[in-house]
Every structure is written in C-alpha cells, then in structure tokens.
Amino acid sequence: MRSVLYVLSFLALIALGFWAYRENYATQAALKEVEGLQRQIVGLREALSVQRAEWAYLNRPDRLRGLTAANFDRLGLLPMEPSQFGTAAQVAYPQTRLPEISFSTDIQGTLAAPEEGL
C-alpha cells in the first residue's frame, strides 16, 4: 500500500514539474508579447505626439496668416472686424415665394362599402 502511495506521489511530482515547466514557458511567452505590445504602444504614442506637434506647427498663427495672404484672391479672408457683427434684424428674410399652382389635385373620393354588421 505504502509503495503505491510513493509511486503515485512520485508520478504527481513529475506531472507537477512538467506543468510548472510549461507554465514557465507560457509566462515567458506572454511577457514577451506584452513587451512587444508595449513597445508598439510607445511607438504609436510617440507618433501621435509627433503628429500633434506637427499639427500645432502647421497651424501656427504665423503660417496661417501667410497662407491667407498668399491665397487672398481665392479665399478673400480678412481679420475679423467689429463691423462684421450684425443684429438679427439685419438678416434679410428669404423671399416668400409661394409655389405656383400648376395642377389641381383630385380630392374627390368614393365612400367605402359599409362594413357588415353596421
């Protein structure tokens, strides 16, 4: 009986060892993957920050001012002026043009057959 117990525990030890070995390698692989992903995230974040900086650089007021001056004949942009504020009363109403009556709609109908039981 005792020897069976020994054999079983020895087998269990081997099985556990094997399991630990596999887990170890699986963990290593997962860590490696995480590292790769982290590196990727860092790279993307870096790219994002570069793009944000680039966006800010391209939208700097100096450059926009130069561009509006260079494209004045196409865009016609000028600095905002106090005279550009208006009141609601200054807004013209749209022309109230009623559609012409070009055809008459037939509004004649027929009575439906009275329902049964009424």
């Binding site: 860590l31 995480v34 590292e35 992903l37 982290q38 995230i41 860092v42 974040r45 870096e46 920050s49 570069v50 944000r52 900086a53 680039e54 966006w55 800010a56 650089y57 939208n59 700097r60 007021p61 100096d62 001012r65 600095p79 905002m80 002026e81 106090p82 005279s83 550009q84 504020f85 009141t87 009363a89 200054q90 807004v91 013209a92 109403y93």
Partner: protein, 596 residues
Amino acid sequence: MRTPLRPLARILQARQEGVNPDTIEKENLKLRHEAMREKARGRAQFRLVILCASFVMVFGAIGARMGLMAATEPMEPRASAPGAEIIAQRADITDRNGRILATNMMTYALYAQPKVMVDPKGAAVKLAEIFPELDAKALERRFTDGRSFVWVRKVMSPEQMQRVHEIGDPGLLFGPREMRLYPNGTLAAHVLGGTSFGAEGVHSAEVIGTAGIEKALDVRLRDPAQGGKPLTLSIDLSLQATIEEVLSAGMGMLNAKGAAAILMDARTGEILALASLPTFDPNDRPTPNVDKTAEPGDSPLFNRAVQGVYELGSTFKIFAAAQAMELGLVTPETMVDANAPLIWGKFKIKEFEGKNYGPLLSVSDVIAKSSNVGTAHIALMIGPLRQQAFLKSLGFFEPTPVELVEAPGAKPLIPKKWPEIVTITTSYGHGMSASPLHLAAAYAAIANGGVMVKPTLLKRAGATTGVRVMTEATAKASVAMLRRVVTEGTASLGDVPGYEVAGKTGTADKPKKNGGYYDDKVVNTFASMFPASNPQYVLIVTLDEPEDTTLSEIRRTAGWTAVPVAAEIIRRVAPLMGLRPKLEPPATDAVTAASN
C-alpha cells in the same frame, strides 16, 4: 543496539568476587548518559551550522540583489499592465482652448566611443559636413586624445541622424532624448521661457525649465503624479498672435526700441495675452547678455511687461482721483487748483509743454487733460500716508504674483522716504517705478468695480473674490473719468467705435544711468479698459522710446504713439473675444431695405 546496564557476565563475575554489582550498573548508566549528551551536542551543532548557513545565504542573496539593483539601469516592470498613459517626462503646455504651446518630441543625441571607432579622422570630417557648427579639427582631436566617451550633439533631426548612420562607424552611437518643442516659434516666448537639458545620461536626459513659466512651474510640469496632464494657461493663442502682430507693426512704424502689451480679464485676473518685443525663439533660446554695461532691456530675453520697471507717468493720476473720491474729499465735479506752475519748496511742477489749464479745473478735467498741478493738489489733500496705503493695497509695493520666474525679481522701485514732494510726483507717476503688469492689476481693480484681482497665467474656472480697495460707486466714477480721457481728452485717437474704450495716457522721460532724465527718450503707456459701460478687459500698451514722425514735428507723447496702437489692438482683438460692438440700433427702414 542497546547495551544492557547490567551485563550478566560481569554481574556474575562481580558476585563471585564479592563486589557490589550496582557499581557496574552505575558505571554503565554514566557511560550511556555521556554518549547521549555527545549525540545531542553534535545535533545542536549541526543545527547551528545549518541555521548559520541559511542566514548567510539569505543575507547574501538580499545583498547581491540590492547590489544588482543599484548597479543596473532602471527598467520598467515587464509584467505590469500598460498604464493609460506612458507618461511623458514633462507635461505639455496649452493655451486656454487646448492648443499646444509647448510639447515634447523624441529625438536622439549623438555620442562617440573613440576606442571602438574605425576611422576617427574620417568620421570627424564627415560629421563636420553634417553639422556645420562642428569643427572637424577639434572633433578629431577629441576623438584621438585617448578619452573613451565624447558627446557630439544633443539633438538632431531624423535626416541628420540618417546621414550619421550612413557614415557607418561603430563608435558613433545614439541616445534617445525627449526634446522640448515650441511649435509656435516666437509666440508667447516670454511667457513660456525655455528649457535646457539637466543631468544627462546615455539613455535619457532631464529637461529642466530655464525661464518663464517653464521654470516657475518646473516642479508641476515634471511631477509624475500629474500623469502628464497638460498645463492650461490663460493665454489665448489667437489674441496673443494678433497682439504681437499689431504691436510689432506699431513698434516698427514708431521707431520704438521695444514694446509690451498685456490683455487681462478684469473679472478673473487671467492674462489673455502678454507680449514683449523684441522677442526670441524659445526653441533656440539666445544666451543672456553678459555685457555689464548693456541695459537689461537690450536683450530680447528681457520681459518688458513683467520685468520692465518704469515710471509709468500720468497713468497714475486716476489713482489719486479715485482715492480722493473714495475718501469723500472730492467729486468728479469739484473744482481744484490747477494754476501752473506749482512751486513747492525748491521744486517747480509744470504742465506738459508749459501749458496752464488753471486757475481752476474740475477733477474730471484734471484727468481728461492730464494736469500735473491739479493731480498734485488732489494728492496733497490725501496726504502721504493715505496715498502710500492706497497704492500698497493696489499692489504697487510688492512684486507681482504672476507665475513667471522673472516676476519675483521685478520689485517696484519705491522712494525710501515719502515727503510731500514725493506725494506730488507719485500722484502723476514720477519718482516711483512699477511694471506694466502692476498697472494692469491696478486698472483691473477699477474695472472690476473696486475689487482687486490676482493676475495669473493659469486658466481659472470663474471669478475670484479679492480685497475691495474702493467702493463700486468710486470705481464707476473713475471709469467714467477714464472714458472722458478718450472722448474729450489726451487719448482721442484711442476711440474704437462700439467698444467704449476708457483709459489714461502716460508719458515718462527715461532716467539716465547717472541721474537726471533724457530729453528725447520716453516710455509711453496707455492703460485702458473696455467697454466702459461694463468693463471686462484691461489692456496696457507700453512703447519704449517711440517717436511719431508722420507730421513735421516729432511727437513723443503717448496720445500719438501708444494710444493708436492700443486702439488698433482693441479693434482687432475685441471681435475675436466675441465682444459685440455697441452700435446705434438700426433704423426701421433699414430693415425693410434689407428684406427687399
């Protein structure tokens, strides 16, 4: 095997010999005890050795680990889940609408290990071709004089990095660097200041603020607990750009040496724009002027708006008038003596160009016409002690609390003694010097209905509660007086239709280094607020040594220089802030005309 205590053979022999057999038993018992003791000691010794060994091993392991950790480069834990943010070393700085004013960019530093270089001479020549500021000879000398490590360049562009790669020397190595970038160039340069590298290693370098808000809030910007949250300033990028544009155009037209402008929200004390010209590029901050004889204002690094402590001239007159009204000494209509010149002891107080506005002038006219003598009489009514206390409450005795590293150093220059002649000169802004920012804060108090605001460069959530320095009625009357300066007085060029500008001009002669004043060098200031019916914004414009040469005579008064510049700034900036001009209501027939 157990030895018996009374072995039969010996017992029998002892009995035959007539000896007490008990002695044999005693002897054997003693032997047995000795053996047992021996065994126990051996076991205890063994245990002690084991214990000792395990202590040595544990302490050894801990020690070795500590040594290893101390000796190796720090590393992020591999297994930790990546945080929401890979925290940048230094937080971004944005304007009040979230547009970037300062950010970080990854770049690389170049260093060399001459011991592993294949061709130091050739590499030096090629490096000098890539980086024009490097000297091939000097570089070669550094590569060949036996040192094992040489910094070549702190930052470089990706193109330059590629060209260094193409040299292909194994001794040329790159270290990653986080670099501070100011995408808007010179915009708001004096606010931002600049940065430089602190402690440098191969794998990273510290970025530390060297001036402006970068240095003043260095700890906040570098605090990892803030999680890289951007620092939001009160500055508005569009307003700042517009003000810098108009100011620099005005400075050019008026041949001024320098200029400064501050736009402040009178309710919250937020500085919406702060410009100082000439300016610089914080990406490539120039070295400070080391020449002792040069004036500090000659360097573009000098922040005129904060550090420029000048006599602010007649802009101070409103404080005397406001205080006299507050104390109940005068009303705007009270007539005061304005008979020029005023002789006080050995001093003679004159008006501009020797005019005489007297004999009597109402307080309101004293401000509108900028009468020195009238203000002097008002100040004499107030007296030195009360005048000092009032100016102190307006913040003129302390450096401004704004978040710039330069601010605490810009102490106002206050006369040591305060006799009555100082009371007189201070009332019209001479003999006491302060920065344009001090003036902005004091005018904001008037604009804000008499409550002081703390000037700040950080965005605030709402209005703040400050100390009341004058009643609302006094503040209102003061604004009305300032409005008259623009409609009828010295600042008539400052009127912007629809925005009801109120303000006060100030022209102060520049002091010479060794006493006295220059005849032909002035500092012109226009301190204004708008719209007068409900003041929301305060604008201070200062020009250093301007002259208006459009007409035959050269004019150097603020009314001809700082005022038109300020008016143009208000005309451009007010619509950007969404401030509607107050116009005459359109006639009813105009509506009909528009609809047809």
